[in-house]
């Protein structure tokens, strides 16, 4: 059985084949045997070549949140439509940049106006979450094309805040 997963927008393939009580695992590079079982609905035990691994896993919608040996992973099942997995930042035209909310919160202040020139690291907006103010800074030198939110708006993670246009000739 073949599976495809996205981790940090990178596509990974892995196949599992059940042979009696053991699984044959193949990740494209190599094939090996693994003894895998549920300890509880959120805990999976994996034995590979005698080494024991304990993996914590919980699903929420299309995402699987995973923790093992203190490392965290978010593994996503790709959407069936087979859309491209590039970040929309990269998809937009090269000289334009969409500034997005880094986390859910409330827009406290918009520090720039449309058509205004911005420097690199200039504060564009302030978003508050959990009683801490977070400054959203410009990663480029350019100007503000369009502002999509206003002070007082609640935003979700990855919500577009404003569109910037990069100054030509400046990396």
């Amino acid at each position: 059985m073949e599976y495809e997963f996205l981790v940090n927008s990178v596509l990974h393939k892995i196949s599992l084949e059940k042979k009696e009580n053991i699984f044959l695992v193949s990740d494209g590079k190599k094939t090996f045997k693994a003894d895998i079982c549920f300890i509880s609905p959120n805990v999976i035990s994996i034995l590979i070549e005698g080494r024991s691994h304990k993996v914590y896993l919980a699903r929420d919608k299309d995402k699987m949140y995973i923790s093992l040996e203190g490392e965290q992973f978010i593994v996503q099942e790709p959407l069936e439509s087979g859309e491209s997995f590039q970040k929309s930042e990269e998809k937009s035209q090269e000289h334009e940049l969409m500034i997005k909310a880094p986390m859910p919160g409330k827009v406290i202040k918009i520090n720039v106006s449309e058509k205004e020139n911005v420097r690199k690291n200039q504060t564009l907006a302030i978003v508050e979450a959990m009683k801490m103010e977070n400054e959203i800074k410009s990663s480029i030198e350019g100007y503000v094309k369009k502002i999509l939110v206003s002070a007082g708006d609640l935003v979700d993670s990855e919500n577009p805040l404003m569109e910037l246009v990069k100054k030509r000739g400046v990396p």
């Binding site: 059985m1 599976y3 699984f23 509880s40 609905p41 959120n42 993996v55 949140y65 995973i66 977070n134």
Partner: protein, 502 residues
Amino acid sequence: MFKKILIANRGEIAVRIIKACQEMGISSVAVYSEVDRESLHVQLASEAVCIGPAPAIESYLNIDKIIQASRQAGAEAIHPGYGFLAENSEFARSCEKEKLVFIGPNSKALALVGDKIRSRQTMEKAGVPIIPGMKNIPKDLSEYKQAAQKIGYPVMIKASAGGGGKGMRIVDNPKDLKSYLEAGQREAKSAFGDESVYLEKYIEEPRHIEFQVLADNYGNIVHLFERECSIQRRHQKIVEETPSQALDLKLRTLMGETAKKVMQVSGYNNAGTVEFLLDKNKNFYFLEVNARLQVEHPVTELTTGVDLVHQQILIASGEKLSFKQEELFQRGHSIECRIYAEDPVNNFLPSSGRVTFLKEPKGPGVRHDCGIYSGCDVPIYYDPILAKLIVWAENRENACQRIVNALDDYVVLGINTTISFLKEVINHPQFRKGKTTTSFIKMYFDKWEGKKKTEENLRLALIASAFDSFNKTYTGKSAGPAQKEIFSPWLSLGKWRLGGGK
């Protein structure tokens, strides 16, 4: 003794206080905002009253609604916890007027110590050492500018109405003064409902040492020794411990007696904490009084054997302190780590959302004061503290190892937490040596990026994902959405059959 207490708070501290009420045979009333209907404190309390919409200003900071909820439920006393209305003297006054007992200091003492400027003047007069700073709240920028010049940069902006790092900024450069003042005022306004900020001299690389004090209504005062809270990020404590490595018996006694004097001249009663800065030459300066139960109170409880919430309730109900200073001792070592919903590898951005799975650490000497559970939602509206992990051990070295093991044994899925960061802080050689100052995090963890993810662990994560999907496809079983109760015997017994043992 009270029969019913209302807890005007949420999260882990509300849970902590409700448990104390249960232990003392007191009925508890939780209050909650509309987004907190499913919160742990609502589930645990004997009664629960909704007090309004999600924004704190319309619910947990709404004095009228909380007083009304108390009367409706027939509570005799209100415990404010920490944050929100805990240090709001108007709230304490409203309680007094309504004949409700405010479990905290009297409103007059609260107003005095809550006014950081007036309290400093009082302390200065009483001969308590203080840090140079402003003696009033200026009306405009030019006054701030003048004061900053006079005190000398770097200066610290501090909120007049509260602590916890909210509204606080260090200004190194005069050109940043204006924007930092504005940001500080906004934060102070949203956290405490009061935008007043003032300036003081910033002492570089000091240790933060505070003394826990209990004072009854009859003038008896004891201190329960120090807590060192030097490990801070953005002026927010993240690791606390006791005893401090910087104090010896003589200095501890001197600072403890000074703390008692501070409370005496303030006319203070109930539990409170006197904060000091200790410089490298072991000079100490009075900072402020935290007129509430502190987040870090458990380390004092574990080393002195005194339950501070019980004591608060006893004192508020009119009991005399049942022990004297000379009966109090420190035993062993205790460390606390605050677990915040923040992403340590992404500039500590707040992380809200669904906790899809929680595994609480357990073991000898491990205490977990927790406000979340598997399947709960962490809202964007409140402080990001989720829980506190506290350990006790015979000595500091063992306590460090014990808390690292407990952090290893601690799993939160669905949102980001500071667990991995805290582990590295405790494991840092300078921390192990006890070389802790308030600049520790800035000095050693400024550019921290977290451990690099290994290929092997990624492969294991993919195998686990595939295995989970495999079971979902073939048996219809899977980890499914968050499991609300993981310790159910139906899950932990494994496969069995009625009469199967015959």
